[in-house]
Symmetry: C2
Subunit: 85 residues, 2 copies
Amino acid sequence: MRYIVRVEVSLKPGHSDPEGETTREALLELNYPVDSVRVGKVYEILLEASSINDAQVKVEEMCRRLLANPVKDDYRYEIKEASNE
Amino acid sequence: MRYIVRVEVSLKPGHSDPEGETTREALLELNYPVDSVRVGKVYEILLEASSINDAQVKVEEMCRRLLANPVKDDYRYEIKEASNE
């Protein structure tokens, strides 16, 4: 079975976000009244797995081993079956 | 009023995604059977605006002028009122 996995990785609260700060400054220079900007990443992954439970085990591991930094990142994900497979 | 804006920027279909491809290769090396990976960005922005319509006009402009590249990116956003403001 193929599954569509959407993983969102964001910085934990309290960790500094240099990219967000740079974006905030650029928006302020363009005269947009922005108080804060936080930047995160979204991974859309097409994954082979034998079942939704197997997919969930794999995704949890992928997040911890590669996609998120456990020291500074939070992550969350959604898994759904790919259609026509 | 303050609004919480969530902007998601992703590559248009058909545009090559080198970061996604690198991530896919890294996941394959770790033995995860991944067919494709696409990477996008999420901006969470705290914005001052006089109304939700004003916020929407500003966000649309911010996307076109700074956050997304109109040639290669798609974007979508959600706006909600910040609580206690």
